[in-house]
Assembly symmetry: C2
Homo-oligomer: 372 residues x 2
């Protein structure tokens, strides 16, 4: 096994670059020591007040404010110590062509010889990995750090090649997969898109709707790549959506329930989230358009609904103030929703029959949007 | 599309049988009317008091108590009306070779012409589908009713053939899949196992541990089929586990966190759950053995832990009274856990290094258990 993985590491330029950036960080501490300075690390501040909406890029990015961690205080020294141990672990992991989960890193720190370097809890280790992402400009995926779960799937007219630890796999995402579809790996940058016959990408919030589209053959009939978001999408799902859009040069549309939480799902695909603002350019697809379910669909199609809860109303009101939703479209839709006091699920379209979504709703809406 | 699916329906004996059973149910109502009787349906009672542990089968089954639904009362008549509309929908769905989700059924009822037949909420429609399963002896899967989400995966030395709506797919669950593995479809009875080189089946609770085993090549090295449970396993996951065990004739072991909720996950794989007691013989694998994490592992390997919460303690105490856990093994382990007051996660093994689980823990434990 180790022979294979070593070979992979040598030929993976991303791993090599990630390793170099990490060692560069550590060597800065070394130079600071050598020059008699107190070691320090300057990190862009990752708070709500240092997040800016970049009109030019259409995504949230970090502002200019910086925090300095120095070894002058005991707490600061301990942070730097943890960073050094983590850098050593990551550099070794990359050299060996291995990977680990964020949770494993937390537990692994218990085996480190210096107990001050050990993490207190997983927020501590997760935060440090985010620090290292921000400072090094390398993504967590390129450190070979995995989340606990990803698990979203893709189905559509696309032939891809995935570089796995066991060699390359060429997979056609309709012909070589079962009804469950192609499982998106934790790091989709191991994928190369080889051939496709796709007209657009449709990101779908719920599993029930994803299954409906696939059963009705919507992907085959319309040259559509169906990406299942599974609620708030994992980084891997957002990353592959962005890459599909950029490399295949086709539209991305997002299809969710009609409630404020679902609009946030759309927002995280399109604009990026505050938590991962340092990665917006890597993860966000500003050109992604919102298909629905729209509050006006509730009215026009007389869909079965549930009443808005207090927390729904608060979330909608906070979206009215959110720069990401400062468009005429969103203001009208959100105000209409507050007015009617109702929300609806994607599957509420089934009240018009199981084929309504694929025969009527999506063709009409995507026609209006210029996607068809 | 419809031509294909019609063709599938004609050649699928399960669909044909399911349709006949449903129509048989409806024709009983017809006969009752014809004979001047008030229509009625006798249903095994699905409450905790009518669930028995079958020593012989090693699973939970329904007892002999029956409830009678009759049209003598308005509520009873409405239940039967809903059953008739649902039967009509399901029979048509099966005839057309289609399927739908439980949630779609609920919404679809809004389009029915008789408003008394419409469901009040999803518990109402889910409950009726369970009634029809119990009375007809046909599983939900054979009615072509899907859950909202399934999404578990499988990786291992197994070549299978899945009958999809788009034709047959032959997939090797190591060579033809990416690192994410093979996505188990909603109805695994569409799968035929063709060839395998498997020694045993390892069901794993968490995604992080599943990824660790796959990265370390545990499935390749030991001829192991790794089934990801994803927490409390979906019916599809339990069904494929049972079929793999029965048809490949190899041991099943279950590997989870060490806490009462995880022991219930083991219990639902091995013995079946109260909610689906009418399906235990279809879903449960009584021969499944528990690998760990065991409370004694916490002590022996000095694993990082969290303290038991009050609800953990209550759940452990209720397991001591549960007939499924009335063995010396479980009594000792649960009493030890209450004694030490601690629980641990699978990934806590990483505190001994990333390879400890595959190089030491699992080989030792599976050796003791006679699986290796």
């Amino acid at each position: 096994m180790s022979t294979d993985t070593d070979a992979d590491a040598e030929t993976d330029p991303n791993s090599e670059r990630a390793r170099e950036e990490l060692i560069e960080l550590a060597s800065e501490f070394y130079d600071q020591f050598a020059e008699g300075d107190v070691p320090r690390m300057r990190i862009p501040t990752r708070t709500k007040s240092n997040i800016e909406y970049s009109e030019e890029k259409g995504v949230w990015v970090l502002g200019d404010r910086r925090t300095t961690r120095t070894a002058k205080t005991k707490a600061g020294a301990q942070k730097l110590l943890k960073a050094i141990y983590t850098i050593e672990f990551l550099a070794q992991q990359l050299e060996e062509g291995r990977s680990s989960t964020l949770r494993e890193l937390y537990y692994l720190s218990e085996s480190w010889d210096n107990e001050f370097a050990q993490f207190n809890d997983q927020d501590d280790s997760n935060g440090l990995i985010e620090d290292l992402e921000v400072v090094s400009g390398v993504t967590r995926e390129d450190f070979h750090m995995r989340p606990e779960e990803s698990g979203a799937t893709l189905m559509g007219p696309l032939l891809l090649r995935e570089q796995t630890r066991r060699g390359e796999r060429e997979i056609h995402c309709q012909e070589d997969v079962g009804e469950g579809g192609y499982q998106i790996p934790n790091n989709p940058d191991t994928i190369e898109f080889l051939e496709n016959d796709a007209e657009f990408i449709l990101c779908v919030e719920t599993g029930g709707m994803r299954d409906r589209l696939v059963e009705n053959g919507f992907d085959e009939e319309h040259g559509c790549i169906v990406v299942h978001l599974k609620g708030q999408p994992a980084r891997a799902t957002r990353r592959i959506t962005k890459r599909l859009h950029g490399e295949l040069d086709i539209p991305v549309v997002v299809f969710t329930d009609s409630d404020p939480w679902s609009y946030r799902i759309y927002g995280s695909v399109a604009y990026g989230s505050i938590k991962s603002a340092h990665l917006s350019e890597y993860l966000a697809t500003p050109a992604a358009q919102f298909v629905g379910i729209r509050p006006r669909d509730i009215v026009e199609y007389d869909l079965p609904t549930d009443p808005l809860s207090d927390s729904d109303i608060n979330a909608l009101e906070s979206e009215l103030d959110d720069p990401r939703f400062q468009t005429e479209f969103w203001r009208e839709e959100i105000e209409l929703q507050l007015d009617i006091g109702q929300k609806a699920e994607q599957q509420a379209l089934a009240s018009r029959g199981l084929d309504f979504v694929t025969d009527t709703y999506l063709p009409e809406r995507l026609g209006e949007m210029g996607v068809f």
